[in-house]
Every structure is written in C-alpha cells, then in structure tokens.
Symmetry: C2
Subunit: 400 residues, 2 copies
C-alpha cells in the first residue's frame, strides 16, 4: 500500500496520541485523530494485546456528564520497555533510565577522563555508566530497549556518524555502530543541541505547541528548533549554531576563531575576559568562580562589570530578536540550569528583544524560562530514543 503497511501506520499514530495525551479514552482518540471509533477499538485492542498500553479506570470529572457508559482511559504501559538517555560532557556522563511511559526510574553520573578519547574508550565508559545505571534500578543492561546518546559536535543523527566531537580523538567516526556493538543494545545518536528541544517536545511544552525554539546556555550558547511538531536539523546535521551567529562586524574574538559571535559576548569566558582586561579585576581564579565575581561586582554597582554584563544582555536580546524575526515562532524557551545566567534571562533583556522584533498586530511570541536540572540533556536523549522504541515496538506487534 502507498504508505507502507497502513495498519502499522494507524497503530503508530494512536500509540503516539496516547503517549502525548496521557490517559485518554477511546472516544477522544477517535475525535482527535479522525479515525473512526470502530477502528480505534480494533487498533487499541492490538496495542493492548501487545501490552504496549493498558486500561485504567477513569476518575470522574465534574465537567462531563456522569451518565451513560463511563469512558475507559488508555495509557502507555510503563513496564513495556526501559529506555536510557545520556549525555557526554567534558568530564562526566549523565544518564537517566525511564520507563516506556516516560516516568523516571533512575539516574546516574559517572566521571570520565577529560580530553579526547578514542571511540572504543568512550564506548566502554558509556557501557560502564549504563551498567551502573541499570544496576541502581535492579536491572541489567540487556533489559534496555534503546539508548539515546547526546554528543557535542557535529553529528549526522540519521547515520550515527560523528563528523567531529570534542569528546573524540578522531573525525568521521561511525560511533553509533561502535556503540551498539559495544552495548548490544539499539543506540540513537544526536547532537546535544537538539536534545533539550526534544525533551521539551516530548515532556514539556511540546504538548501544546508545534513551533518553538529552545535556547540553552551553559558554557556555550545552543539552540534547537521544533517546526511543525518536528525537530528540525539542518541539512548537514550540524544543529543550529545560534552561538556563532554574528552580532557585531569584526567584533570580539570567539573561541571558534571568528569575530563578533554572540558567544564571544555572552559566554562565561567572554565575561571574565572582558572584565579582567579592561577593569582592574585580576581574575586568575577558575572560570566558574570568576564569573560569579564579575556578576556580583555588577550587582554591587561596579561600573566596569556592569557595562560588561549589560552589553552581554543587549547582544543576547539582539540575537534572540533575529531568531524571532526569521522564524516567527509561537514560543521561545530559555532553558538552563545555572543561576549564573540570570542576567540573560532578565525581564529587561526580554523587553529589549520585544522592542527589536518587527511589530505586527498579532502578539509577539511568548518567552518562557525553564530552569531544568542537570539531567535535562539526558532526558532529551532518552526522549529521542523513546520515539524509536515506540516505532520498533509497534512494528514488532504480531497480528491476531
């Protein structure tokens, strides 16, 4: 048939719908998908038989009539599969384990040597981390149905190919393959910039929005885009390089070697560099501490520090405004874990952005700040893997 096996297609569609809407009765599924009630009954029967979903009694609500046959909610069967997600950063790996319904099972953090590793070494560290993670929950590595992996650098997610990553000592590594060989489990690789967007799409505001962008600030500035309910990756797989968007002609030097990058004004190292070179501040302390010093000085009214911090805010607002002007999203999510960057998330910055976007009668996009924890990335990786595991599970359903 045209669209592959169609029955599989509607199974997939309904499974996704149930995953997204949480417990939901059949009649609502029919309503929202446009599939007839008869077919919903038959398809959900298949899913129930395969133990991918389960029926749960519905608690009565005041807003719906209590008469008639009561609705029966369907939800994803949490125990159907285990999914892991992890992100590799410079000195550690963060991991989470979740059930098929996205609920949290365990998390873990394990240190790795700093600097570049061989693919085999990194794969081994990941395997050890996953084993420890599984053990925490009384499981075995082989119980896991899929592992999502986020890696900094340039990654071709479709082919599991790593063009370049700060974590690896080689270029053009088929790391997806290496990893799944090492683990004996299906591995889904992606650029880490996309992970937070994925996490938002699956567990966050994606439930109610289909076009949004997510900005993350850590050491660098990252970005993920969701367009039409789908993660958009560029064509070369190198994610959206918002941090290296130019905000000043021949401006400040960026660690990427170019000039005028947004990152060169707002990243931690940029703040410290400026404050120490211009002001009398001698900052020989490590970066993270030095940043706090600069921010505190700015708050306390030190004029140099204040200028530096204010300019960072203005540049950030300008970069954001450019994004909004180009994409016209419904929503902009600023995600981060560190209080360090509060100055970029400040109302004044957002106000500044609003003033820089093209005005029309419709309201400007909503801006929300999400302070996620450290596991945000790993959870996004798991969300990414979850999609594949869902599809695989649907494909593996036997016919009656």
């Amino acid at each position: 048939m045209v669209f592959g096996h169609q029955k599989i297609e509607s199974r997939r569609l309904l499974l996704r719908e149930i995953a997204q809407r949480g417990p939901v009765p059949r009649i609502d599924l029919a309503e929202h998908t446009g599939i007839s009630r008869a077919t919903v009954t038959s398809v959900t029967a298949d899913l129930l038989r395969g133990r991918l979903i389960e029926e749960v009694p519905r608690e009565s609500r005041s807003d719906e009539s209590a008469r008639g046959r009561p609705r029966v909610d369907l939800k994803i069967a949490g125990d159907a599969h285990l999914i892991a997600g992890l992100k590799v950063s410079d000195r550690s790996i963060s991991l989470v384990l979740m059930r098929f319904d996205g609920t949290h099972v365990a998390d873990h953090e394990c240190p790795i040597p700093t600097g570049r590793l061989t693919p085999i070494d990194l794969a081994t560290h990941i395997r050890d981390g996953l084993r420890a993670l599984a053990e925490k929950a009384g499981h075995d590595l082989s119980d896991i149905s899929g592992v999502g992996v986020g890696l900094a650098g340039v990654v071709d997610a479709d082919h599991g190919l790593v063009y370049w990553s700060p974590s690896l000592d080689q270029r053009n590594v088929p790391f997806g393959e290496v990893l799944s060989d090492t683990l004996g489990v299906a591995v889904y690789l992606d650029n880490d910039a996309n992970l937070v967007a994925m996490a938002e799409l699956t567990f966050g505001l994606g439930k109610s929005h289909s076009d949004f962008i997510v900005i993350t600030i850590e050491s660098g500035v990252g970005m993920g885009m969701v367009l039409g309910g789908q993660l958009y990756r560029g064509t070369r797989g190198c994610g959206a390089e918002f941090g290296h968007t130019k905000v000043h002609l021949d401006g400040a030097l960026c660690r990427c070697g170019q000039r005028g990058c947004l990152e060169a004004y707002v990243a931690d190292y940029a703040l410290v560099r400026e404050a120490s070179s211009v002001g009398g501040m001698s900052l020989t302390t490590p970066t993270s501490q030095a940043v706090s010093t600069v921010l505190k000085a700015a708050k306390d009214g030190d004029p140099t520090a204040r200028t530096v911090v204010e300019r960072a805010g203005k540049m950030f607002a300008m970069g954001l405004a450019n994004l909004v002007n180009i994409f016209d999203p419904e929503l902009v999510i600023l995600a981060g874990e560190q209080m360090q960057f509060d100055h970029l998330y400040a109302d004044t910055v957002i106000e500044e952005m609003r003033k820089s976007i093209v005005e029309i009668d419709k309201p400007a996009p909503e801006v929300v700040v999400h302070k996620w924890g450290n596991l945000m990335w790993a959870q996004g990786a798991a969300a990414y893997a979850l999609e594949f595991v869902q599809d695989t599970a649907v494909g593996a359903l036997e016919d009656a």
Copy 2:
C-alpha cells in the same frame, strides 16, 4: 479512512510527481512513489480520463535498452486549466497567465495609483488587470481556474486575511474574500516574500533541492524558506523578516523605526542617505538614479562612496552567514532583477560569508545568483495558485 479518501490521496501524489518530474513513464512513477505498478496504471487511467494528464511518445534514449515494450511518458495536460498570478507593488500590478503545466501564456503590467487604496478599489484594479491579461490570450476572466496574489505586508495566507499592507488603507481586511467576490474566481493570497521561494520550488531549483532559502533584494530585503520541500511560513504569517534582522547594536536608523536593521545598511535608500550625509555628494535626484550615482562613484574610486558600498556588502555577508549558521541549508539562492545590487552579489561578499560560517568537514552550502525578470513575483504567485488548482482538480475527478 485515516488519511481522508485515499484514492484522492494517491491521485494527488501522482499528479504532483508528474508535474515535478515532467514527462515520466509509469514505471518510474511506481519506482519513485513506492506505489505498485498496478495501482499506478489504475490511478493514471483516472487522471487521463479526467484529462489532467496526457500520454506523449517517448523519445528513445541511449542510456536505456531499446528492447521490450517501450515506456510511455505521461505529462501534465497544459490545456486542462489556466492559472493567473500577480503581484501588487507600489505603482503597478504585474500579472502572468500560465497553463496547467506551468508554461507561459501571457503577461501584463498595469499601473495603479500610488499610495494606499481601499480594498474594493484595489480589487477592482486587479480585476481590470486580469481582464486585460486574459484578453491578450484570447480568453475570458471566467476561463481562469485560480489566481495567486502576492501582497507586501503581513498576510495570513491560510485565511486570506491581510493584517496590514502598504497597498491597503485598512488593517485586518479579509481581502481574499473581497477579491474572490469581485472576480468570481478562486483566489489564493500570500505574502510576497514567499512568492519567489515558491517560484524556485515549483519551476526552479526546487526540483533538485528540498531545503533552501531565497533572498530577494528590491527596495527592501526579503526572504523565503523552503524546509523539507515545503514553504515555511512563520506562525503569525508574517514571513521571514530577514531585512529587519539586526546586524549592529543601536546602529543605523531603519524605515521600520528600529535601529541596526540589515535593510538600513543595504537598501537603496540607505546607500543614498549615507553617501549624501557624509560625502560631499548632494543627491536630490530620485532614489533609483541616486543609487546609480553612488555605485558609479564607488567603482571610480571615490573613497566615501566606496566605504559605504563596502560596508553594505559586509553587512549583507554577515546577515547571510547568520542565516546559514541557523538553518544549515543545502543552498542559498540570491534572486533579484536589478543589476543595481551586483555589489551585494559579488564574489567578495560571498567569500566573506563563507568565512563567517561555522566550519565543519562537509562543504558550505552552495550559493547561486538568479537574475530573474520582473515577472518572478507574479510567477511565484501563479505557482502558489497552481498547487491549489491541482488539488481541486484531483478532488473533482469523477469515479469511473
């Protein structure tokens, strides 16, 4: 059925495929779409019966064996429908008439009063223009199956609503409705920035690329995006405002009232303004002539003019690089009709852009310059309408 009437869906799919690939034999259609040969035969039979496509003898090629039953090419039946496209600009309307297969029938240009018009007035001018256009080809307005209309401003294409346009004296006009009432023909409205992208998608490089951006320079700077083979409009329908992307904090004043917009450095009025305010050039002549003067002076080595023009180029390169960094497209198309902007399309500018994008192992996106004629916009509008006419025609096919 799940996806609406499926037969209609496969008819639509095959018609699009034929439209895009030009004359193509059935077996290739089956190959490319994944539809079985049996079904291709039956569906194309329907399309043939409805006279939407026709069989043409295939010229023999050296690269395919001449044995066996020869392939029979299918192509869109040009005479099935007439489609018009038009764009409203400040002092005239440009129109084209094309056949169902996209071939040119006639074009026309008619002046309109400058300044804002009432919706009814503008609709009347459009009707008159269309009548003149149809007459040129020996047709009547009522022979036209669909009209695509491009309007500057903020347009909600899905609802035919014009939030604001420099051509209209009112806001929030349901202009699509007004027009189709006036014309008695189906009207499809869109923001003009999208039209060139549409034209490229349908008649230009869209045949071989699915992710690209199109930049247009006239008086302002416009942009259209094609992502995944589809035109991307923002969520508020206000097109991609590349021209009002900020390239300098608190920079030059733009006619939109904000500061530092790209347009404020590269648009015609910006060049003239700078050259006259700084240099000794007194430019009281009309803008288009003044621009030529500045450009000529720059070429002849006048230092002031040269600085102005060079900076425009650098700013443009920076804006382009930002786009590439964010989208990572396969291709960037610079489209324009006026030789005036050659300085922006120069190799040095493109080279400058290449130096400002994030480097990875894969090659940078291709950049091509398309010097289309004045009718580019109108043709894009027609291409937009063509899609709808195709779908309508498929939907109207009677069953055997």
